[in-house]
């Protein structure tokens, strides 16, 4: 590490920072995504960057990785002024990036993915052999076990992420940027990731962790920088701050991390599910006889590690997936199979559905907000101009109303869904489903990839709907969310309900056991 041609006034005694950004600004048209951002990341630390969606975190990292060019400002790597016009320059400067959505070839092996783009010659054998040796050392050093010959499509998400990290390390990255790395991971996988990151740090790597989850910042980072509306509002030592203080910095006002709610006043049974079973396309039973009831004015939370039948439960109740068993809504039988079982008849019956994956199911990403706001409800009379034509004016008005009530930003009905941040996309979906005045709301992963200000808001809306006497089925892999919102909690494991208890009568440990499939006393 040679001292660079720096010009700034940094104390000469300190070791050069791994990364130093000075006065970075970037505008997209009228939107100032980054405004005069300066940040110093000491070598061998894990540095968290936290901020709400749209605060400018991703833009800043894209500038550092050469996807965007800053309008002004300078980048120093190891104390040396380093212009980064493209991602090749970033890789040469020792920067590796692990994206939220992995960039892996699904039907290649781990090894093939690792050498992709950095093969040593036209014949692959030598490259593959070399990569295998390097990978073995990397895996040993950093607890990054992955079978080098496994196909990517057969790996779990957590393992795929490890491949992304290995790719960066194989390219000799000293600085690793991870963008929302835990969004797709189970809690256990996330813990493992943090162990890996700490191992990398201890070996002298510098890590930038972009997230909006306070808990991860507190758990994994040494320092944390907070961004808000394109500006860097604070950089503090993690040990000297608290989640509450960070949340306030992020949002710019006090935030309630706990959900404020009064005890439930359950009414009559709204949803009665008996022996619900679902087989997937391969004939494997995914839901193995699930029975429960939800009353009016009550939130039933379904906890569980992802992939234990929760998605199938939502899909079957939402009319997307054929099922067997018996489901009644306010006393009426719902068709579970055949042409009568679809999303439209469910909505007509009074079931609203916020799907787990808003980008795949809940929204048409290329459609404008106003086109999405009636999606699934486009048959309703209020959206019809006459028998033939839809009432575009009514749609726009309705969109404006919902955007205002749910604080969707920016409040532009003509903007395509894909142009909104994750939190605002979710607000559009939640607004559409809640405002349809359902008897039963199915809501899956309501705050996945949603920033903290929006989380608070969405939680409030769910509780408000409950207080208005509606029944709510909440599915979430975030145990905190289940515990703070639910009135009763069911834990699913391997397609069955392992236990069903009052939320007040249980704790995280008991639920954790049930989630792992250990049937204990907690079953009521």
């Amino acid at each position: 590490m040679t001292p660079g041609t720096e010009s700034g006034g940094r104390p000469a005694t300190a070791a050069p920072y791994a990364i130093e950004l000075r006065g970075i600004s970037k505008a997209f048209g009228p939107v100032q995504a980054n405004r005069d951002i300066s940040i110093r990341v000491p070598k061998g630390t894990i540095h968290g960057i936290i901020g709400e969606n749209g605060a400018g975190k991703s833009t800043l990292m894209s500038i550092l990785y050469g996807f965007y060019r800053a309008d002004s400002g300078e980048i120093y790597i190891d104390g040396k002024l380093t212009p980064i016009p493209d991602s090749q320059s970033a890789i040469r400067a020792g920067i590796g990036m692990v994206f939220q959505h992995f960039k892996l070839v699904q039907n290649f092996t781990v090894l093939e993915n690792v050498i992709l783009g950095v093969e040593d010659g036209p014949m692959l054998n030598a490259s593959l052999a070399k990569a295998r040796r390097v990978l073995e050392t990397l895996e040993r050093d950093y607890e990054l076990e992955v079978d080098p010959d496994a196909l990517i499509e057969n790996l779990s998400v957590g393992h795929q992420q490890r491949v992304e990290i290995l790719k960066a390390l194989y390219r000799e990255a000293d600085i690793l940027i991870l963008d929302e790395p835990t969004g797709v991971l189970t809690p256990a996988e996330a813990d493992h990731l943090f162990r890996i990151l700490k191992g990398l740090r201890d070996q002298g790597k510098t890590i930038i962790l972009i997230t909006h989850k306070l808990r991860e910042i507190m758990e994994a980072t040494d320092n944390v920088s907070v961004m808000r509306r394109g500006q860097m509002v604070a950089t503090v030592k993690t040990a000297e701050t608290s989640p509450e203080a960070l949340a306030e910095l992020m949002v710019g006002r006090k935030v309630l991390l706990e959900v404020a709610k009064t005890p439930a006043r359950p009414g009559p049974v709204v949803l009665d599910v008996a022996d619900l079973r679902v087989r997937d396309e391969a004939g494997v039973e995914r839901l193995k006889g699930v029975s429960f009831q939800i009353r009016a004015g009550e939130i039933l939370g379904i906890a569980g590690v992802a992939g234990n039948g929760q998605s199938e439960l939502l899909a079957a109740l939402g009319g997307i997936q054929a099922a067997t068993g018996r489901v009644t809504l306010t006393g009426r039988d719902l068709p579970l199979i055949g042409p009568g079982a679809n999303g439209r008849t469910r909505r007509e019956a009074g079931i609203a559905h916020v799907p787990e994956d808003r980008q795949v199911l809940g929204l048409i990403m290329d459609f404008a907000a106003w086109e999405n706001v009636a999606f699934g409800y486009h048959h309703r009379d209020r959206y019809q101009h006459n028998r033939l034509l839809m009432d575009l004016g009514a749609l726009r008005e309705d969109t404006e109303h919902k955007m205002q009530r749910f604080d969707v930003r920016p409040p532009i009905p003509a903007l395509a869904a894909k142009s909104f941040s994750g939190g605002n996309q979710q607000k559009i979906v939640v607004a559409r489903e809640i405002e349809s005045a359902p008897d039963l709301l199915l809501i899956g992963q309501p705050t996945r990839g949603v920033d903290i200000g929006a989380i608070e808001f969405i939680h409030k809306q769910i509780v408000a709907l409950r207080d208005a006497g509606r029944a709510i089925l909440l599915v979430s892999v975030e145990l905190d969310e289940i515990m703070s919102l639910s009135d009763r909690i069911a834990v699913m494991f391997d397609g069955r309900i392992m236990g069903l208890t009052d939320a007040a009568a249980t704790d995280e440990r008991a639920l954790g056991l049930l989630m792992a499939g250990v049937s204990t006393a907690a079953a009521a």
Binding site: D71, I320, N342, G343, V360, G362, I364, L389
Partner: protein, 363 residues
């Protein structure tokens, strides 16, 4: 990659693509020892230089509008209908059957709606089988519609030779339609006859085509059905979530698509030929793909692209007529236009992106 401003996306990209296609075409002409300038003059002069030329250009454009719309509707449902050619052939059969074997029509204004119905029904029927196979068995619509083009071609030969050909006639074609059913050409329409002083093939079908463009726009962007078609085309999974039936949308979109392709027959079979001949569609079904692609799958774009391809068709024919340039060059030019406006669209976009990049930072 830099995002282009909307005006550049809809206007500049096609324009640059066309210029590039023209440039390469010029090189091809030079390579075969011909003068590109002369060829260009002949094409423009022959296709656009006179009302007479326009009469041909618009005639071709009418066919391309129908087939372009056919591709457009299917495309919005996420279906790639390559079968416009076969559906247009069958549309011609529908027209011929209606005009030859139903009632004697006293006037073209009565014959036209009946012929349109026949054309649309037969075109739709030809699209219905691939659509049904796609919707129920998942047989890929691209493959099945291509197959159905071949079946259509063989079927038409068989019908023309063995059934529709009047006794004693040599060429495989149907009898002539009654003179009363002949559609007025542009030079026969009061008012327009002042402009089109010589007989041209463009006929009232042009107005039907333009009306169809407007109706398709209304359908796609103003009705529930269009909304559902577009939603299904963007995301099948989301459509299922919303309770939109994949079977219903696949069938309806393909039936409409086939009907539009079939409708082309009122222009060439009823309007121009006045009888059903072999290979009546003459590739217009395939040109429709390029037209929809270049028209950005918007009806207005389809109108403009159809006129462009009408120009290429007519200008190409003029080349064969007035120069020693082989008429096959028309195919080369069309191919280049399709290549640049369709396949190399992204390349042009990237090239243009350089000019729309934000200012660079002095490093």
């Amino acid at each position: 990659m830099t995002r282009l401003p909307p005006w550049a996306d809809v206007a500049l990209v096609p324009l640059v693509s066309l210029l590039m296609a023209a440039g390469i075409s010029a090189l091809v002409l030079l390579a075969i020892g011909q003068s590109p300038v002369e060829a260009f003059n002949v094409m423009v002069d022959g296709a656009l230089g006179s009302a007479y030329g326009w009469g041909y250009t618009l005639y071709y454009a009418t066919s391309f509008m129908f087939t372009g719309l056919a591709v457009l509707i299917a495309f919005h449902a996420g279906l790639f209908n390559i079968g416009g050619e076969g559906q247009a052939q069958l549309g011609g059969l529908g027209v011929a059957l209606v005009l030859l074997y139903t009632v004697p029509f006293p006037h073209w204004a009565l014959a036209l709606p009946a012929a349109m119905l026949g054309a649309a029904l037969f075109g739709a029927a030809w699209a219905a089988i691939p659509a049904f196979l796609q919707a129920t068995r998942g047989s890929h619509i691209v493959i099945t519609t291509i197959m159905f083009n071949y079946i259509a071609a063989a079927l038409m030969v068989y019908l023309l030779v063995d059934w529709l050909r009047p006794a004693g006639q040599m060429d495989p074609a149907s009898a002539r339609f009654a003179i009363e059913t002949r559609l007025p050409t542009l030079n026969e329409i009061p008012g327009l006859s002042l402009i089109f002083t010589r007989k041209v093939p463009a006929n009232v079908s042009l107005f039907v085509a333009l009306l169809a463009c407007w109706l398709v726009w209304v359908l796609m962007w103003r009705t529930r059905l269009g909304y559902e078609i577009r939603a299904y085309g963007k995301s099948e999974k989301a459509a299922a979530y919303a309770g939109i039936s994949p079977f219903r949308i696949t069938m309806i979109a393909m039936l409409l698509s086939g009907a539009l392709a079939g409708l082309m027959a009122i222009n060439n079979v009823m309007g121009e030929a006045g009888r059903l001949v072999g290979n009546a569609a003459e590739g217009a079904g395939f040109i429709g793909i390029a037209v929809a692609l270049m028209g950005r799958n918007h009806p207005l774009g389809v109108v403009l692209a159809a006129i462009l391809f009408g120009f290429l068709y007519q200008g190409g024919a003029e080349l064969g007529l007035w120069t020693s340039i082989p008429i096959e060059l028309r195919t080369v030019v069309q191919g280049l236009v399709i290549l640049f406006t369709g396949a190399l669209d992204q390349m042009v976009r990237m090239l243009l992106g350089v000019f729309f990049r934000p200012r660079r930072v002095p490093a």
